[in-house]
Symmetry: C2
Amino acid sequence: MKVIDNATLPHAQLPGLDHVTLAGASMGLHKLSVWRQTIAPGGATPPHFHACEEVVLVSAGTGAIHMASGSHRFAAGTTLVIRPLEEHQIVNTGNTPIELVGIFSATPVGVFKPGGEALDLPWSS
Amino acid sequence: MKVIDNATLPHAQLPGLDHVTLAGASMGLHKLSVWRQTIAPGGATPPHFHACEEVVLVSAGTGAIHMASGSHRFAAGTTLVIRPLEEHQIVNTGNTPIELVGIFSATPVGVFKPGGEALDLPWSS
């Protein structure tokens, strides 16, 4: 059992994106990772995929998720369910930050470019 | 890939507790469940445990989590990491609702009373 004050957790950044690992292997987990991210207006995640399941909880902002099969718009109060190996990119299409929680069925989380090469990220889980 | 408007999802209740399954087996997942719950002032979950890992994200309110090893207080902005088989009960000790998201490394989620008997709940995942 661990009680974690989120304010004490380190932040990491990509351009237009702020990241906090809320829970993962470093907290003793074996099968879950939980990330909190803020995407600035005009910002986006890199296009990528994971080998595990992902659920994204969107609590603020508006955006689109681009998939090989097409794009889907979303707003605050939306849950995105992404299957393993589905390539995706989340883009902020609005004028306010997107606040989201990304939940993964693995820890650490493998993140891969569309070609399959590992995506090097400035955080761990 | 699924885009779910949370406002369309069904609610279920226990005394003092409102529940929404945001993601789980019914959305095509195999290894993740995500629940959103609101616990009223004075309300509590039943004492229970799971066979899987759990992460609880507390976004509003103040409370305590009672474990066999002791009790831990928490407030909004806290992440709780609960190991498989750890008995726990979440109690709202404040004057405002607790808003939380419960994340599980299994779907459906098995919920058991401290003696090991399955806890019958009015929702599924």
